[in-house]
């Protein structure tokens, strides 16, 4: 995957870490997202953006650091519960709720990550899965806070800074778009920063990174925490969009979905998670009438993706066009 993630030699003319191709793609993405709510169902688009943020975090871990986590839903779900609780019960503003959700995700991620990074490969994945099960168990049990099987229902969208009501879908869309863009630029910055270079070096050859004087454990821990924070952010935003947080949000299926999004979109690419999220959420929305078959169809797509285009949609596209996206 290394040749898809990195251009052979970093081009000189870059705006804010963007290569020429990436900046054109960014402008196109921005234009699409601005026109989209007038063409498509805004709630659907907002969910795509929420899951894109979630997948960008997972991609930082999987694509750029080489760590496969199977428990990302724990941070997504807890971010959603805390964000929802802050807005519903504490009557905080939505931006405060989203910030609290992010902090919650990051805090839990910092603790869980500290434990998990001690092991590698499948052991790492199993530890993240086990820790996520704890969180899932908590969500099922605690009917007072999480609402158990009923979920946390009727979460209000509130007013930004106490002034602008997010009740209309269009207002919330703008809010979600701003949050998404901040997250996107943040991830882009992280990937292209010196920090990001070290992380990629660790992915390629951990021993060599150690020999150069870097401490991989610290870098992995920070990336894990960032990914969990992004998951919390996505969860809290999703709670505002859908008005509800349920066990689905903290369940194993959600952890699996986000991995699928990253793989379908293109692991280790900047635009992959967005495309992956758009495809998977579109399937959930437009194939909903097939109910249980949705998961079967998702499975088939996953197999097709792994067998036919291992680098994902954006990964294959970038490889064809010979530049990084």
């Amino acid at each position: 995957m290394s040749d898809t993630a990195l251009p052979k030699a970093p081009p000189r003319e870059m705006i804010w870490g963007f290569t020429g191709a990436q900046s054109v793609a960014f402008v196109l993405m921005l234009a699409t997202l601005m026109v989209a709510p007038f063409v498509a169902y805004p709630v659907f688009l907002m969910q795509v953006m929420c899951f894109a943020i979630f997948a960008m975090g997972a991609n930082l871990l999987m694509g750029y650091t080489g760590l496969l986590s199977l428990g990302q839903a724990a941070y997504f779900g807890m971010g959603a519960y805390v964000g929802g609780y802050a807005v519903q019960t504490l009557h905080l503003t939505p931006e405060a709720g989203v910030a609290l959700g992010t902090l919650t995700g990051a805090a839990i991620g910092a603790v869980f990550g500290w434990l998990a990074i001690r092991r590698q490969t499948i052991y790492f994945a199993m530890i993240t899965l086990a820790l996520a099960q704890f969180v899932n168990f908590f969500a099922v049990q605690d009917t007072g806070f999480t609402g158990g099987e009923n979920g946390m229902q009727n979460i209000p969208r509130g007013q930004v800074a106490g002034i602008i009501s997010l009740h209309s879908d269009l207002h919330l869309y703008v809010f979600a778009l701003v949050v998404f863009l901040i997250a996107f630029l943040f991830v882009h910055r992280v990937v292209h920063s010196p920090f990001g270079q070290v992380v990629k070096a660790i992915r390629e050859n951990e021993n060599r990174a150690i020999s150069l004087g870097y401490k991989p454990a610290q870098y992995k821990w920070i990336v894990f925490t960032i990914a969990a924070g992004l998951a919390g952010l996505a969860g809290a935003l999703n709670a505002l969009v859908t008005h509800i947080v349920t066990l689905t949000d903290v369940g194993n299926a959600t952890s699996g979905i986000v991995v699928l999004m990253v793989l379908v979109g293109g692991i280790g690419t900047i635009y992959g998670p967005l495309i992956g999220a758009a495809i998977i959420i579109a399937m959930q929305y437009y194939l909903a009438s097939f109910s249980d078959w949705v998961t079967v169809i998702q499975g088939v797509i996953f197999i097709a993706c792994v067998l036919l285009f291992r680098r994902g949609i954006i990964g294959e596209l970038a490889a064809k066009l010979k530049f990084a996206l």
Binding site: S23, V24, A40, Y41, N154, H243, I244, A282, S291
Partner: protein, 412 residues
């Protein structure tokens, strides 16, 4: 910065991939177009009690109302909530945004409470027929929602009360672990205690993923209670009663199926279901009018007779259409609160439930019937399953509005 041809193509492809997602928002058509969405369980444990037969009943109501003759263009849509509140809210939100005037059915109290909130938020009408939770007209009541057919309070009063009076003094509950199960358990336990009985124990099982009830049934057996109270519904009830039979539990304990539909009895077979005491507010073979309704609707659902939930979808849709016609103002129909207020003012009358009315808090007031399931030899014709034991008038069956209730609509 130089932009090569290749860069442009690549970026354009990315943009096209994002723009070409299958989407499109249906616009609300003008004139006398009415859209009704049946949100129900089409694949899970409540499929037979709601699902396709609910859709058939709604379509029957549209036909009986004479929509086309009266100049209405009624579209009936359907959505599967998969017993997940998040899926249900997303569906309801999407339907209302597409200009749907009424969402109906919604078995599963947790999903119903969630959609109840969406209806309020969007100010559109919502009739719940399938869910049992009495909190819909209590803690969660609002001006846009009507709770049709039945509720947990009425089931507890009717079935619970009858069982205790018949001598079942000590109870053990097996409860579906979500809003509905808890309400049904709490309210039945209250009835049991008020009649001098005792509750020995309770076990909550995960919903909807449980199909093996053996460990819960063994707990019930070892408790030594006289009555096994099943605070669940649909396929769960069928499974737990069948398994209780296999364990020989029925010889030691009486089973109180607190919510059993005729479709569940059909699923179990009379061998297993015989002598079960249950409550429904509609039975197809109750009187001439219910028989006439059933005869009309059966061609649409030949293998599944309507139960009270599905009959409620018929009754609710018919009353909704009558009200829309009486209001004669399509703009007011789009205002959920106004529409529902008009529905509450007008008394209801249909073949399924006879004459009834909707209370201020959104509670549909119909009679509750206590039935006993027939023995295999007593059943003469297909689906001839019930013997009527008693009937409770609406004002006794449902939670009184004056006390206990937390409904904001009636505080003033």
């Amino acid at each position: 910065m130089t932009i090569s041809r290749r860069t442009l193509i690549g970026s354009a492809a990315t943009g096209a991939a994002m723009a070409s997602l299958p989407m499109g928002r249906a616009r609300a058509a003008g004139g006398k177009s009415i859209k009704i969405a049946v949100i129900s369980d089409f694949s899970g444990p409540y499929r037979d009690d709601g699902g396709p037969t609910s859709v058939a009943c709604v379509e029957q109501a549209v036909a009986d109302f004479g929509a086309t003759q009266k100049g209405y263009n009624v579209t009936v849509l359907k959505g599967d909530h998969q017993n997940k509140p998040d899926v249900g809210t997303a569906l309801a939100r999407q339907f209302y945004d597409q200009g749907v005037d009424l969402v109906i059915d919604v078995p599963n109290t947790a999903v119903a409470i969630a959609i109840n909130g969406v209806a309020h938020d969007k100010n559109r009408a919502f009739i719940d027929s399938g869910a049992a939770g009495s909190s819909l007209t209590d803690k969660f009541c609002n001006a846009q929602s009507i709770h049709w057919t039945y509720d947990t309070y009425m089931l507890a009063q009717s079935t619970g009360g009858a069982m205790v009076k018949a001598g079942g003094k000590s109870w053990f509950f097996v409860t579906a672990n979500y809003a509905f199960g808890h309400l049904l358990h709490d309210q039945t336990a209250a009835v049991v205690k008020s009649h001098g009985g005792t509750v020995v124990g309770n076990v909550n099982y995960p919903f909807p993923q449980t199909t093996d009830f053996s460990s819960f049934l063994i707990q019930a057996e070892s408790s030594g209670a006289q009555v096994l109270g099943l605070a669940n519904a649909g396929a769960d009830t069928v499974n737990s009663i069948k398994q209780a039979h296999q364990f020989g539990l029925t010889k030691k304990m009486k089973i109180a199926g607190l919510l059993v539909f005729i479709n569940d009895v059909h699923g179990m077979g009379l061998d297993i279901a015989q002598d079960l005491i249950l409550t429904e507010s509609f039975y197809w073979n109750l009187n001439d009018r219910t028989r006439a309704f059933t005869k009309r609707v059966l061609p649409r659902t030949p293998n599944n007779y309507p139960c009270m939930d599905q009959a409620g979808c018929y009754s609710g849709t018919l009353h909704f259409l009558k009200t829309v016609h009486a209001m004669n103002n399509m703009a007011a129909v789009k205002n959920g609160a106004e529409l529902v207020a008009a529905m509450k003012k007008m008394p209801t009358d249909d073949d399924a439930f006879g004459k009834a009315y909707i209370r201020e808090d959104g509670r549909f007031m119909c009679t509750a019937y206590l039935f006993k399931v027939k023995k295999p030899g007593e059943s003469k014709i297909p689906w001839d399953y019930y013997t009527l034991l008693a009937s409770t008038p609406a004002n006794k069956a449902y939670m009184p509005m004056s006390e206990e209730t937390a409904c904001k609509l009636i505080k003033t």
